[in-house]
Amino acid sequence: MTPSSMSVTTTMTYAEAAKNAVAEVMRSDSTVWCVGEDLGRGGVFQQYKGLVEEFGPQRISDAPISEAAIMSAAFGAAMAGTRPIVEMRFADFALCATDELVNQIAKARFMFGGQSRAPMVIRKPMGMWRSSAAQHSQSLESWYTHIPGLVVVCPATPQDNYSMMKAAIRCDDPVVYLEHKDIWAHEGEVDPQLEYEFGRAQRRCNGDDITIVSWSHTANLAVEAATRLASNNVSAEVIDLCSLWPWDKKTVIDSVRKTGRLLVAHESVQVGGFGAEIAATVAEHALQELKAPIKRLGAPRSLIAYAPNLENQLRVTTEMIADKAMKLCQ
C-alpha cells in the first residue's frame, strides 16, 4: 500500500469495499462489466447490491447456471476488448470451469504468442462459512499459484478488498480473486486513495521472535494471535501475503532473517498447500538463519464436514496459531 497525502477514509464492509471499487471503475471505464448468476438481485452475498440499478442488466449481467460458459464467455469477451469481472459464486463451483480457466484463459496470451490478452477478474468466494460442508467450503488457492499465466490474490480486509479489486480490474492479466466468505460483513476503514501493487505483502505486526506468514482471513487470525503472544512476551511479526502470485519473497525472507523462526498458517489443506512453497523457499534461501524448524499450520487432509464440532476439527484458529508460535519460540 502506498499511503496517500490527503486520505479521506470511510467505514465499509469487506463486501461493500469490493462493490465500491467495482462501481468506481465501472463509472470511468465503459468496457468493464460483471457477469454471474443472480447478479441482478445483488449476487448471492449481496456484493453487487445496487449495481444493476446504476449500470443496467447488460453490464451487471445475470447468467445461466453455466460456470463453464460464464468463465469462457467472459474470456471471449475479454479477447474482444472488454474487461469482465466474473462471479463464480462459490470457489467450489469454479471447478466446473477448470478447463476454461487453466487450459484456455491462463494460456491464451502465451500460446498465441502474445497476440491476445485476457484482462479478467475471476471472483471466487472461498473458505468455510455457515456449516456449508464439503462442496461449499474449499480453499484451493495453491492450485492457481501452480498455473503460469494467473495472478492470485487473497484480500483479508475491507481496505485490501477495495484496493486490490481496483488493481485487479486494472490488470491486463487474468486475476484469480479469492474473497473469503466468512468476512463479508467485516467492517473497516477504507482509504480510497491507497493503491495496491501485486506482489507486495503487508507487515501487519512488527516483531522480533517469530515470523508468521499468512493470507486471507487466516491473516486476521494471525494478527489476533500476535496480540496474545505479545501478552506472553513473544514478539511476532505477522506478514499478510495479500497476493500469492506473485508473492513477496523478499519481505518474508528478510523477516525470517530477522526473527529466525517461521510459521506459515492457512485455512486450506496443509498437504500441497501454498504454505509448502513458502517453507521450501525459505529452506532454500535462509536456512542458515533459522533457529528452529519451519512449521506449517493448515487443515488436516480431510474433507470439510457439516456438523459444527466436526468442522471445528478442521479449522486453523487464533489459539492454534498462538500455541504453535509459542512452542516454536521456546
Partner: protein, 360 residues
C-alpha cells in the same frame, strides 16, 4: 410430448390417492419442522432448500420404485429422500448435524443420502448428479451382463425370472429447470441414450433458479425439447397434479424397466417457499406465490380430488395430523441427539493415506 388429460373421477384409484397424499403430507410436515428447526430453534446451521409446493413429483414418481432402485437428487432433496424410504429421524439428525444422521452429520441437507434405500445422494453442485446417475444406470447394466455371463446366456434371463420386468433395477434422477443449462445435462442424457441405460430423468421445473427466472436464462423451448433432441422418450406433466405425475411416472418407469432405455419427464411445478429457508424471495412478482399457494398447492388439489371421490375430510386431515406428529417427533429426536464423535472427521476419507493414520 403429450400432456396429461383429465381423469374421469368415476374410476379414480382412491387407495393410491390416499397413499400419495400421505406421502406428500409427510414431506410437507418434515420440511415445516426442518424450517422451524432452522428459523425458530437455530439448530440447522447450513442452508436448507425446501420443496414445499413440489411434493407431488417426489411422491408420484417414487411410488413406482423399490429400494433396489437408485435415486439421485439435488440440493432440494428432502422430499425425494423421504419418498424413497429414508426415515425422518435419520434425515432430521442429518440436517441438524447429529449422531444417527444418515451421513453421520458430515453431509447435512445438501448431501443427504441413504444408500440402504437406494438414495445415492443429494448434490451441492447443480446438474452434477445427472452424469453420476447415468453412470449408476451404466453400473446396473454392466453388472446385469456380468451376472448373465456367469449364470448363462441372455435367454436364461427371460426364462428364469417370472416377474422379470419388476426385477429390472432402474435409476431415477431429479434436477431443476436451472440445471438444464449446464453441460452435464447434455453429456448425461447423451450418455444414457448412447449406452441404452435404464434411467428416468425428472426435471422439476419450478420456474426459478435461485433468484433468477429460469426462462430469462434459457434459450429455446426448454428442457423437454432438449431431451427429445437427444433422442429420449419425453413427456410433460402438471407436476402439481399428483395423480397425473403418478400416472405418467408409472408409464415411464415401466417403459424404462422393460426397454432398459432412458426416458425424460418434465414436471411443471412451483416452489412456494424461498430458494433457501432464509430467502424472502422478494424477486417474485407481487402475489405470485400467494396465488400459487391458493390455487395450485398440490396437497390442496389432491385433497379436493379425494373429497370429490368421496373421501371424508376428517380422514384426510388425519393424514396431515399423523405426518405432523411423526415429524415433530423426528425433530425432537434429532434435537436430543448427540453431536458426532469428533474423531469421525478423520474417518471415511480414504483407506490409504487417511488422516486417521497421519493427520496431515
Amino acid at each position: 410430448m403429450p400432456t396429461y388429460e383429465e381423469r374421469p373421477i368415476s374410476n379414480y384409484d382412491i387407495a393410491r390417492g390416499l397413499s400419495l397424499l400421505a406421502m406428500m403430507e409427510r414431506i410437507r410436515a418434515f420440511e415445516q419442522q426442518a424450517k422451524l428447526a432452522a428459523v425458530r430453534d437455530n439448530l440447522v446451521l447450513g442452508a436448507i432448500h425446501l420443496s414445499i409446493g413440489q411434493e407431488a413429483i417426489a411422491a408420484g414418481v417414487m411410488m413406482h420404485l423399490n429400494t433396489k432402485d437408485y435415486m439421485l437428487s439435488t440440493h432440494r432433496g428432502h422430499g425425494h429422500t423421504l419418498a424413497k424410504g429414508a426415515t425422518p429421524d435419520s434425515m432430521m439428525q442429518e440436517l441438524l448435524g447429529r449422531r444417527g444422521g444418515s451421513c453421520g452429520g458430515k453431509g447435512g441437507s445438501m448431501h443427504i443420502a441413504d444408500f440402504s434405500v437406494g438414495m445415492l445422494g443429494a448434490n451441492g453442485v447443480v446438474g452434477a448428479n445427472i452424469t453420476i446417475a447415468a453412470g449408476a444406470a451404466h453400473g446396473i447394466k454392466l453388472l446385469r451382463t456380468a451376472r448373465e455371463s456367469i449364470n448363462g446366456t441372455d435367454s436364461s434371463k427371460n426364462i428364469g425370472s417370472k416377474n422379470k420386468s419388476e426385477d429390472n433395477q432402474i435409476v431415477v434422477c431429479f434436477f431443476g429447470d436451472g440445471a438444464a443449462n449446464r453441460g452435464p445435462f447434455l453429456e448425461g442424457l447423451n450418455w444414457a441414450g448412447v449406452f441404452d441405460l435404464p434411467i428416468l430423468f425428472v426435471c422439476e421445473d419450478n420456474r426459478y433458479s435461485a433468484s433468477t427466472l429460469t426462462s430469462t436464462m434459457t434459450a429455446g423451448p426448454g428442457p423437454a425439447a432438449r431431451a427429445e433432441s437427444i433422442g429420449l422418450s419425453t413427456e410433460v406433466v402438471d407436476g402439481n397434479d399428483a395423480d397425473a405425475v403418478a400416472d405418467t411416472a408409472a408409464r415411464l418407469v415401466a417403459q424404462v424397466r422393460d426397454t432398459g432405455k432412458p426416458a425424460f419427464l418434465h414436471a411443471n411445478t412451483y416452489r412456494l417457499d424461498g430458494h433457501t429457508y432464509f430467502d424472502p424471495a422478494s424477486y417474485r412478482p407481487d402475489g405470485e406465490a400467494d396465488h400459487a399457494a391458493a390455487t395450485n398447492d398440490p396437497i390442496t388439489r389432491l385433497r379436493e380430488t379425494l373429497i370429490e371421490a368421496g373421501q371424508a375430510t376428517t380422514q384426510l386431515d388425519q393424514l396431515a395430523t399423523d405426518a405432523e406428529v411423526e415429524m415433530t417427533g423426528a425433530l425432537a429426536t434429532a434435537t436430543a441427539s448427540a453431536w458426532p464423535e469428533d474423531s469421525s472427521v478423520f474417518a471415511d476419507v480414504q483407506d490409504i493415506g487417511s488422516p486417521q493414520q497421519e493427520a496431515y
